[in-house]
């Protein structure tokens, strides 16, 4: 709900005796000055963060501008996540200091309660669990948020606590601190993993890109899921501590993140572990690129490419918990979930380097049944997927460490070892009609 209350303006127009034919002129051409902005319904929210969000409203020059800027301010206030409702009232100014073209804008807000909770029960995959969520929005008055989630299941228990604080005036710049314990079961590798960790992250935009800087410390416990796990997986059981710094950059110009029609997405992610403690040391890079273009007849053509590489630093080989996995309906179709690449006795071990790509064509259903209504929710999806996952055999490059970087400026030798063929290559191309 938004926009000004035309009823009030209409009444005022009559009182100041303006001819009806000139009403059109008032609405579009008349210069106005926003004299006051009122807020009703503020409780614990502090004034300074509100000021930033509505500062633009004062700069409006004519009525349409005021309406537009008020609407934008309303959107900004809602995105803070501290109000349940925001209503905007635009009225002419009353009082002694009122100018003839002065306006008052009033924001009527309802703050969220101090504590909101949710309770869900989930059943699936031989496991039932109870999920309890607690949220404290706007904890100290400046849009800080604390959330707590607790999941108690028949097999595993996990929980997470997170604190989020945006910078007043710059909501896209924020930081959050998370504490969590997460357990996962990975039947494709016969592996069970329990992660207990703490992470802090900073998000900030630079021009059109969004950056995230994160430090994460995780205590990982790996175990076998079944007695029949392969020995390679059994060898990875035990505890390790990963302390890593990571940076992610996202440029997203798509019109929607689900079934986009146009625009492109580029995500680049890098992670360096081992230099802030812990016993796991590696450098990990990965990227995702997606391009969408609208074609004739309501179809959308989409191309995507992913790739990544994991370089262990030091003599220890990479851990199964850090490697990449590929396969399944979200990446390379035609393979079971994460079942591409190096394996041992049926357990997939993941790989240190991968690439995957896809070409997609989304069209409306053939003969367009249910057009204009239900049929518009369905699309036909043609796709072509390919991918590869392997381990990199470095040879002498195995003792790679940042201190010895000078050795690798002999590019020729480096490339020769780097491009050594992977021991197992699995490429599968499928193309079939899929009604999405």
């Amino acid at each position: 709900m938004g926009g000004p209350d035309f009823g009030a303006l209409g009444e005022e127009a009559e009182l100041v005796e303006v001819e009806p034919e000139a009403k059109q002129e008032i609405l579009e051409n008349k210069d106005v000055v926003v004299q006051h902005v009122h807020f009703e319904g503020l409780g614990r929210t502090k004034d300074d963060i509100i000021m930033y969000e509505i500062s633009d409203v004062f700069k409006a020059k004519n009525l349409i501008d005021v309406m537009r800027k008020s609407h934008e301010a309303r959107e900004k206030l809602l995105r803070l996540g501290i109000f349940r409702h925001v209503d905007v009232l635009i009225d002419t100014c009353q009082g002694d200091d009122a100018l003839p073209n002065g306006l008052d804008v009033t924001f009527e807000v309802t703050e969220l309660r101090r504590l909101t909770g949710s309770y869900n029960t989930m059943v699936g995959n031989n496991e039932g669990s109870m999920v309890l969520g607690l949220k404290f929005p706007n904890l100290f008055g400046r849009a800080e948020k604390v959330t707590f989630q607790f999941s108690y299941g028949t097999k595993e228990t996990s929980y997470g606590l997170s604190f989020f604080k945006p910078q007043p005036g710059n909501f896209e710049r924020n930081f959050s601190v998370n504490l969590y314990k997460v357990t996962g079961q990975f039947p494709w590798s016969s592996l069970r993993e329990t992660d207990r960790g703490i992470s802090t992250e900073f998000n900030f935009p630079i021009w059109k890109t969004n950056h995230t800087l994160k430090w994460e410390g995780v205590w990982r416990e790996l175990g076998c899921l079944a007695r029949t796990a392969s020995f390679s997986v059994r060898e990875e059981s035990g505890h390790s501590l990963k302390s890593s710094l990571s940076h992610a950059m996202v440029i997203d110009s798509r019109n929607s993140s689900i079934l986009p029609r146009r625009g492109a997405l580029l995500k680049i992610n890098q992670e360096l572990a081992g230099y802030t403690g812990g016993d796991v040391s590696f450098l990990k890079e990965d990227f995702e690129f997606q391009l969408n273009k609208q074609l004739i007849w309501d179809s959308v053509f989409s191309a995507s490419l992913w790739g990544g590489m994991l370089v262990p630093i030091g003599e220890k080989p990479s851990s199964i918990a850090d490697r990449f996995y590929l396969g399944g309906p979200t990446s390379v179709r035609g393979f079971s979930m994460y079942s591409i690449g190096p394996q041992s006795e049926g357990d997939y071990l993941g790989g240190e380097a991968y690439w995957a790509g896809g070409l997609h064509l989304y069209t409306p259903l053939p003969f367009r049944p249910g057009r204009g209504g239900f049929g518009d929710l369905f699309r036909t999806h043609f796709f072509l997927n390919a991918g590869n996952l392997c381990n990199l055999n470095y040879g002498y490059v195995m003792v790679f460490s940042l201190e010895q970087e000078s050795d690798f400026y002999n590019t020729e030798t480096f490339l020769h070892h780097f491009m050594k063929p992977c021991s197992v290559i699995e490429i599968k191309t499928i193309m079939y009609l899929n009604v999405v």
Binding site: R227, F231, G238, H239, L241, D279, E345
Partner: protein, 260 residues
């Protein structure tokens, strides 16, 4: 039928292994040597977590993994090697009884000393147990293990015992073993059995491991036939064998020489 390929006994690395685990590992090694089966000893920091039962040592043969002496004896028997075939029913029952005695007394005393005696815990156990891991993981894992062992001690009623009482129990156990051994070379006269391997594992480790006090090894030294027994088995099965296992045994005995 011989075992396929080599079995390797996985145990914790030299600087990390504790008294009780060392004793169990040595018992398994002795047993396999007595059966004339080739053994390769591999040390891994995460051996405890690799083991299907959570205890070291375990053997990896082909694609099977078997942990702890009891199941290993069964497994080896299923493959056609057994040391106790020559015993009659009465003797087998007696052997089982003595093995239970060693497990309940000696092993538990070793665990008590390692995890419930504060001095030993601080000076030896915590640094050793957490050595492969970075801070703070080393402290977390040590405390977790200590809490677990103490809970087990409480369950079997040993939590209330003092160190003197535990040493008394060890003394009684050694007395029983010494009496049973008498002047024989092995517990069941001519041939070694799994009981000999188990007793050797524990006694040799107690005699050769340096702890904060010498009291434990002194209790064993009181019985000369037990020390002679350990020396005999060491000479017969561990010296003059290939480099791997003898180096491991020799490295351990470097801490305190048995053959003095």
């Amino acid at each position: 039928m011989s075992l396929v390929a080599e079995a390797f006994v996985t145990q914790l690395a030299e600087e990390q292994i504790l008294l009780s685990d060392n004793a169990s590992s040595l018992a398994v090694q002795a047993f396999l040597q007595m059966c004339n089966l080739p053994v390769r000893v591999v040390c891994r920091a995460n051996a405890e977590y690799m083991s299907p039962s959570g205890k070291v040592p375990f053997i990896h043969v082909g694609n099977q993994v078997v942990s702890e002496l009891g199941p290993i004896v069964q497994f080896v028997k299923a493959k056609g090697h057994s040391l106790s075939d020559g015993l009659d029913e009465v003797q087998k029952a007696e052997m089982k009884a003595y093995m239970e005695l060693v497990n309940n007394m000696l092993l538990t005393a070793e665990l008590y000393l390692q995890w419930c005696d504060d001095v030993t815990v601080e000076e030896i156990t915590h640094p050793r147990y957490g050595s492969p891991y970075p801070w703070p993981l080393n402290r977390i894992l040590s405390y977790q293990k200590q809490w677990e062992v103490r809970r087990k001690m409480k369950a079997i009623g040993w939590a209330g015992k003092t160190l003197e009482q535990v040493l008394e129990d060890v003394d009684q156990c050694c007395q029983a073993l010494s009496q049973r051994l008498g002047t024989q070379p092995y517990f069941f006269n001519k041939q070694p059995t799994e009981l000999d391997a188990l007793v050797f594992g524990h006694l040799f480790t107690i005699l050769t491991t340096q702890l904060t006090t010498d009291e434990l090894s002194e209790k064993v030294k009181n019985y000369s036939n037990l020390t002679a027994f350990c020396r005999r088995i060491e000479q017969q099965y561990f010296e003059g064998h290939d480099k791997d296992s003898s180096t491991t045994v020799a490295a351990r005995s470097a801490k305190r020489s048995l053959l003095r």
